[in-house]
Assembly symmetry: C2
């Protein structure tokens, strides 16, 4: 559905989703004074800011890669060319930023230039389907997600999450007394039929029906899955039907690098990526189908510029944004002025087209890295395409033992992000079969033992249990959670290690598996 701006609806009233804490926040009384401050001739003895001449910094410069830089993840080197960034001391026409304003306390929503940039980026990439959405900066998505928990989740609530979840995401809500309502996944992430089943048959004696869904739709961590538009529409319609707010945590949105082709040698990073092709090819945000304003989007500069900047942003309807702003005023005040100045001035120099060129090139580096990992697996195992209907319902790959043909691993090659999620076939392992006879939780026990054996062989993976949603004390075993018998998991990251380390790491993994599944 393509809408012209004029025909887009406004967000509906969703204020009944706010927590008691979020509803209780009041604007600072100091706001009343601010309108008086700008009157001509006014002298203000009201505001308690330090005089900017008392800040010790007088100059700030940085150098950065030109936006057209083609990186080489195989042999990293600092490019010869660079863009010079200079933050002016006071107000100037060369930059929207200045030391005197950003060393000072500044506006809680974030600098106007960054708000405009993030809003324009959202519009260009994700074509929101309602008109009155806004952006609001935060201190990165950890901060953003924590603020959203305070905004929406009450003690005793259940939250809809995918079958595997990033541990720090749930570490934010578990202490609030919030539990997971787990939606089963396939190769595209959360399954609509399983989502609807949970909502349709909710047992109200457990607590109110979940009204918030947390989802990582692109390069899901740890699943590596990316949800396509048709699936998103199905999920969204169910959330409309059951009045569920969707939190779309989308840090990997700019790292969508396309499908893996088995048997095709990896090509080096493209020298010049076509920006329009990149923009046209990415999976659009849930916002592109959100005609009600029930999606809250978390995006960040962590994966595209620098995690250390701790700079991200919300995109949401005005009502949620106003409540988040009231929270921001007392939770963090505003993101670091240094981060805003330096990242902001880089974007000012690069421009929107430069940022898109940079990310289009950057995603190629992750494609190359994904290919290193997948090709290494293809070297060490016999990889065959398979409909993993019993596991994920999607086309994937099965890794067979080179020595005895046993199926050892299965996975869906990621088309975005940093991670490969592997299902491990415990059922064909003899030690596991022995555990089935003796253990209350054979899958859990074997996962620990297998991980230890990999570590002893000097290769670290992240074990599957790291990502298990917290359902409560009574759901500690794989069986009690409805997990598949005889199946385990681990996550492989292809973001950090070099090519040789990835190849050697996979070799060690394969050696252990061939031995243990002999």
């Amino acid at each position: 559905m393509v809408n012209s701006m004029e025909s887009l609806p406004s967000a509906i009233d969703l204020s009944h989703h706010l927590t008691e804490v979020a509803r209780s926040r009041h604007p600072s009384p100091l706001k009343d004074i601010i309108s008086y401050m700008s009157r001509p001739g006014m002298i203000s003895l009201a505001g308690g800011l330090p005089h900017p001449s008392l800040f010790p910094f007088t100059a700030l410069q940085a150098a950065a890669y030109p936006s057209s830089t083609v990186l080489d993840t195989a042999s990293p080197a600092v490019p010869h060319q660079s863009v010079k960034l200079e933050i002016p001391y006071g107000a100037s026409t060369s930059s929207p930023y200045s030391l005197t304003s950003l060393l000072q306390y500044s506006a809680p929503p974030g600098h106007l230039a960054l708000l405009q940039f993030t809003k324009e980026l959202t519009k260009k990439l994700h074509s929101p389907a309602y008109i009155n959405y806004v952006t609001l900066l935060n201190n990165g998505s950890t901060d953003g997600w924590n603020k959203l928990c305070t905004l929406l989740l009450e003690r005793g609530d259940y939250i809809l999450v995918e079958e595997q979840i990033y541990p720090s995401a749930q570490a934010a809500f578990i202490p609030l007394g919030v539990r997971s309502a787990v939606v089963g996944v396939d190769g595209e992430g959360a399954r609509p039929d399983l989502l609807e089943a949970i909502l349709a048959s909710w047992d109200a004696s457990k607590g109110r029906r979940p009204h918030v869904m947390y989802i990582v739709p692109v390069g899901q961590n740890p699943l590596g899955s990316t949800m396509k538009s048709e699936r998103r529409k199905q999920i969204y319609d169910i959330c409309v039907k059951y009045d569920v707010i969707i939190i779309e945590d989308d840090p990997y949105t700019m790292l969508q690098f396309g499908d893996y082709e088995l048997g095709k040698p990896s090509t080096p990073a493209a020298v010049s990526c076509d920006v329009e092709e990149f923009v046209g090819g990415i999976e659009k945000s849930f916002m592109s189908i959100d005609y009600q304003g029930r999606v809250i989007r978390l995006e960040t500069f962590s994966k595209t510029i620098s995690p250390g900047a701790r700079l991200g942003w919300f995109v949401c309807n005005e009502m949620f944004a106003e409540r988040l702003l009231r929270g921001t005023e007392v939770q963090t005040q505003h993101p670091s002025g240094f981060s805003q100045m330096i990242v902001g001035e880089l974007l000012n120099q690069w421009g929107m087209s430069g940022y898109l060129q940079w990310t289009a090139n950057l995603k190629e580096q992750y494609r190359v890295r994904r290919d290193w990992l997948l090709n290494a697996l293809a070297d060490e195992f016999d990889l065959i395409p398979a409909h993993l209907s019993d596991v994920k319902g999607a086309l994937g790959l099965v890794a067979l033992s080179k020595t005895n043909g046993k199926p050892l691993l299965s996975f869906v090659p990621p088309s975005a992000g940093m991670f490969l999620w592997c299902d491990v076939n415990y059922a064909s392992n003899q030690e596991f079969q022995n555990l089935v006879l003796s253990s209350q939780d054979p899958e859990g026990d074997f996962e620990h033992a297998f991980w230890e054996r990999l570590a002893a062989a000097n290769v670290l993976v992240t074990p599957g249990w790291y990502y298990r949603p917290w359902m409560g004390e009574e759901f500690r075993t794989v069986k009690s959670r409805g997990g598949r018998p005889g199946m385990g998991h681990f996550r492989l990251a292809f973001s950090l290690e070099g090519k040789e380390q990835i190849l050697e790491g996979v070799r060690r993994l394969a050696e252990v598996m061939h031995r243990e599944w002999a």
Copy 2:
């Protein structure tokens, strides 16, 4: 009491003060893996960090004032000399910071060099009386205070606060369903007798007895008061007796500039301040008498270096620090790497003695500014010393009308911080006396009317009601709160405006008061 390090006690167990949320936080499971990562020969496909070669920044430089700079707040100008700050790209011997490490996700407690600096500073200035205290960075005291609310305050709790409180401080806890138990003040801040009266006679039917006290002991905002060591000891002993945790929010600790002398012309800022004299002259933290570890200290670089950096730190016992760290991991992750690098490298270049020299000089600028304001008041009113026993129990000044000798204002000249708090004698105003006959809340109504009249005369002050602690809906009038009949308040800030503006602002204020109290 002077203790040698060896004889200092350890903190006692105070974990019963933690909230359910704080008790429920668990370490990230990823921590288990970190110990394996450093094993020789290990290949980690576990950690999901971006490769640092993919961050676009290659150089970062700043220039800053030498630590010995004598600023001139009367005619601010950038000094000719400057210290060059250069953040190395990778690890080096020239700096503990590097772009590759601080552009990356970094340690939630903050950079080790900053932790060491803040701990050394605490030790040097405040001589903690127990041995196992630690520092932990936060994103400035707004963030720090919000984290402490989550650590200690449950819905339904009462918190001990001073009679006037910074609005954003209470905006953090009011939405949590926490109310104020208000401790009356005099010229040194909270009065021990009134604190003990509240705790000794607590009516348990309202809720549990307060177990947390929030206090700004130096240059209190808005009171401007500074608490001396004898008073601190009295407050501390009461908090031990009733098992109260003291949150010491101390942003103005380095801005202690000494007493005001009526009738003495203001001297310019000292050209070279003696650091040891400065250090020896400041009021030490509550930590200097805290032999149990029940004080949590909030300090910040906002007033001494840059508020925009959003960089502050906790000092507290190891148990609280560990729980705060678990919170930090999911609330903010870590402060901005840019802020840490730039502020950190400035401190690296300046050294501890340089930072102390800088702050010793800086506080002179606030002393000069305080003198501008007080001398302007002395010019516009007849100032006479008085024991303000009926108001504050401390030596202060009363401002009499130049035309009819009526007492108009009374205040205690601040010896630290940025603010002067004025009591206003409503009782001698005819319009107020008319309101007494007609209004349910004459003090409240007159405060609004008087503020509007000042604004109409082009001078803004912050009205007293901004700083009223929230005691609940039933305590909206001054009378119901036990406020003094016929008395109002406003706050004057001397931190931001220039000398001419301060003189003219006070002139306008005096003109309105002489007219309204004719």
